[in-house]
């Protein structure tokens, strides 16, 4: 829904949130957005969504949510709400 506002320190411009990617795209994780709850951000990191990790968007559920991602050799599904907390750089853009 909301695009990432300007101000992401080192990758400004090409940094978007994971929820904006479409199935088939690949991206590199930058981190979590600053206003993410630290506990949740920490958990997403432990699940594999940590800086420099590669994410593949595999598929979306029939009604558009949740979405399956492949990260660190596992397939995980996240709802849009959590996918909006993760900042990524799409790989084609690099």
């Amino acid at each position: 829904m909301c695009t990432r506002p300007k101000g992401a320190h080192d990758h400004s411009g090409s940094v978007i949130v994971l929820a904006q990617l479409t199935p088939g795209q690949r991206a590199t994780v930058v981190g979590t957005i600053p206003r993410a709850n630290p506990g949740v951000a920490n958990r997403l990191g432990q699940l594999g969504f940590r800086a420099t990790a590669h994410v593949d968007v595999i598929r979306r559920a029939p009604f558009g949510d949740p979405t399956i991602y492949r990260v660190q050799d596992t397939e995980l599904c996240l709802r849009r709400r959590e996918a909006q907390l993760i900042e990524v750089v799409p790989e084609a853009d690099r």
Binding site: V40, R43, Q46, R59, A61, P62, Q72, D73
Partner: protein, 637 residues
């Protein structure tokens, strides 16, 4: 063995027995390792204060018994929910009545080691003797990955054992190691604190072990392309759920009837051989009837857990939850709650037990307290009787059988009200859960027979030991209410049905019925209906036969004729249309089932939630029945 003790109490800490805890992330194969180590000797219970299930078993190595505890699956030791707090607290020894384990066996899926190395690092920092059991080694090789187990052991500084959990290979090596945990090598330096530092440490360990991660599982990709297809995936999902429900609903019925026949025969034998009528009634109806109430749930529970264990372990359950998540999210729940809700259409008891697959305790409780609104099979005989009293068999509405349409509406009302209730509960009393919705979709794997057997066995034995005793107790109380005091002199010379009716109309239950009459009279129920309502607490379908006995019907199982003509003291028909409508509405909402309450108590580990559920459902039932009756009277029915 102290098998009958409650593990939530102190009995697990059998003096002198050394304790090993299994720690690992969900889907790591931890429970499979546990089942292979302990066989079917696991005891289940709850951790103090939470609804998290606890299982402890024992294994014997060289004549020494070692207790093995299967901790809940966890991705890290930084808890963000009360459920996850359990693992952290237990490993830190922060429970007053549970000792800190003496050693830890980490279980990690070697195909996802890049992720789980973080948990390994966190656990090593606890400075307990540690061993790493690597599962799914066969899959790693077949998908083009590799690891040097010796080098990994050196890099970590702890013993590493490769096990293939579903085949049981490597289990004996692991078991032999358990005896000597005080001689296990310990890491010379602990991993660093902090997420980034542990990440770097993990990478260096994996590099030292020459770890190459496996390729994505192509078979899983191909299967998912069909099973998660927007159209075909949804069609297959509904087919699977339909079949699942059919099995639960119909395949369990003959087994349940078999149990009922056996117990009827036993009751007949008792009736034949016991002279004293009170003792005879107590034995044949009270005890054997009560045991029957408990046992009739067993086929459904065993079947449900067989199917659940299969779907879960094969990997389909998370796919089903993925497909249904969007729909369930509207109620504040998540995809995994769907199966529990669906099962409750057969019976709320297996449905409530199926909530164990939900990781969030708020979701679990919200599902438990709303699942009984689903139209369970015990409501069917009640609805059949009431619909029959209300609508003549050949009436048609828009070309459909009016009885069928009414029945369908009653079923629909149950489902919709359960989802609305879940929404209300989740946005009020159970609001605010930090736990993000994350769900792993593991590769498709064939489950081992041991895993399925263990799931069936533990569900059935838990139900019998924990809920069965409460159900049997309440059945006995209800029997006493309906059959005492003894009326031997007064019923002398009366026919069988008249005598039963006389005893019931002068029983303690009749006193209860008259006492609660003011509560129910605004709904149009008279005290005889109230007796049947009291009796139906043992199981809803008992309403039909109790009403039959109260009305002195010659066929208590089908009392329709006796009821249509039954009149009150002012010779008004008792079962008028508005009253029957009120009664039907009451049964849609009321938690009229002691067994469900007993299982709620067991699964939530407190009386608070069953009390909450009973109260709100009673309130809802009363108000809705009153509204329905008023509307019916207003429309001139």
């Amino acid at each position: 063995m102290t098998a009958c003790h409650d593990v939530a109490a102190t009995s697990v800490a059998v003096a002198g027995i050394r304790r090993v805890a299994l720690v690992g992330s969900p889907n790591a194969g931890k429970t499979s390792v546990f089942n292979h180590l302990t066989g079917l000797r696991a005891k289940t219970g709850n951790y103090p204060g939470v609804t998290v299930g606890r299982s402890v078993g024992t294994t014997r190595v060289d004549g020494v018994t070692i207790a093995v505890e299967d901790l809940p699956g966890t991705y890290s030791l930084d808890p963000i929910s009360p459920d996850e707090q359990v693992v952290t607290d237990l490993l830190a020894g922060e429970y007053a009545d549970i000792d800190r384990p003496d050693a830890v066996v980490l279980v990690a899926d070697v195909t996802t080691l890049r992720r789980s190395i973080m948990l390994v690092g966190q656990v090593l920092r606890l400075d307990l003797p540690c061993l790493l059991a690597l599962t799914m080694g066969d899959e790693l090789t077949s998908r083009g990955g590799r690891i040097d187990v010796e080098a990994l052991s050196t890099a970590l500084g702890i013993p590493v054992v490769a096990v293939v959990a579903h085949r049981g290979s490597g289990i004996n090596t692991l078991r032999a190691q358990l005896a000597s945990f005080d001689r296990w090598p310990r890491p010379p330096i602990l991993p660093p604190p902090g997420q980034e530092e542990i990440g770097a440490w993990g990478q260096s360990v994996l590099d030292a072990a020459d770890y190459v991660a496996p390729q994505p599982d192509q078979r899983t990709r191909r299967i998912d392309r069909v099973l998660l297809h927007p159209l075909w995936g949804t069609v297959i999902f509904f087919a699977v759920m339909f079949y699942f429900f059919q099995v639960l609903f119909t395949a369990a019925a003959p087994l349940r009837d078999g149990i009922a026949h056996g117990l009827t025969w036993l009751g007949g034998q008792v009736a034949h051989h016991v002279g004293n009528p009170v003792l005879r009634g107590l034995l044949s109806q009270g005890i054997i009837g009560g045991v029957g109430t408990v046992l009739q749930f067993i086929p459904q529970i065993v079947l449900l857990f067989c199917l659940l264990a299969f779907l879960e372990n094969v990997g389909y359950m998370s796919r089903a939850a993925f497909l249904m998540d969007r729909v369930m999210a509207k109620t504040g729940l998540e995809g995994r709650a769907f199966v529990a809700m669906l099962s409750s259409y057969a019976c709320a008891i297996p449905g409530i037990m199926a909530t164990r697959t939900l990781p969030s305790s708020r979701d679990r409780i919200a599902t438990i307290v709303t699942a009984p609104l689903m139209t369970c099979s015990a409501r069917l005989p009640v609805y059949t009787l009431l619909v029959g009293l209300l609508i003549a068999p050949r009436t048609h509405w828009w070309g459909f059988s009016a009885q069928g349409v009414t029945m369908f509406l009653l079923y629909l009302a149950g489902g919709i009200s359960a989802l609305i209730a879940a929404l209300v509960v989740k946005s009020t009393v159970l609001r605010g859960d930090l736990l993000p919705f994350t769900m792993e979709l593991p590769p498709y794997r064939l489950p081992s027979p041991q895993t399925m057997l263990a799931a069936m066995w533990s569900a059935a034995s838990m139900f019998l030991r924990k809920a069965g005793t409460i159900i049997l107790g309440t059945s006995l109380v209800l029997w006493a209410l309906l059959n005492l005091p003894v009326q031997e002199a007064q019923t002398h010379g009366l026919s069988g049905t008249d005598a039963t009716a006389y005893v019931m109309n002068h029983s303690y239950a009749a006193d209860v019925g008259r006492a609660v009459e003011p509560v129910f009279s605004p709904l149009g129920f008279d005290w005889r209906t109230d007796i049947a309502l009291v009796g139906s607490l043992s199981a809803r379908e008992v309403f039909v036969s109790t009403l039959g006995q109260v009305a002195a019907a010659t066929h208590p199982e089908d009392p329709r004729d006796a009821l249509t003509t039954m009149t009150d003291d002012h010779s008004h028909r008792v079962f008028s249309a508005p009253m029957v409508i009120a009664l039907m509405t009451y049964f849609v909402f009321a938690l009229q089932c002691m067994s469900t309450i007993a299982v709620m108590r067991r699964e939530t580990n407190s009386w608070r939630w069953p009390a909450f559920a009973f109260t709100y459902m009673f309130g809802l039932a009363w108000v809705m029945a009153f509204v329905a009756r008023s509307i019916a009277i207003g429309l001139g029915a």
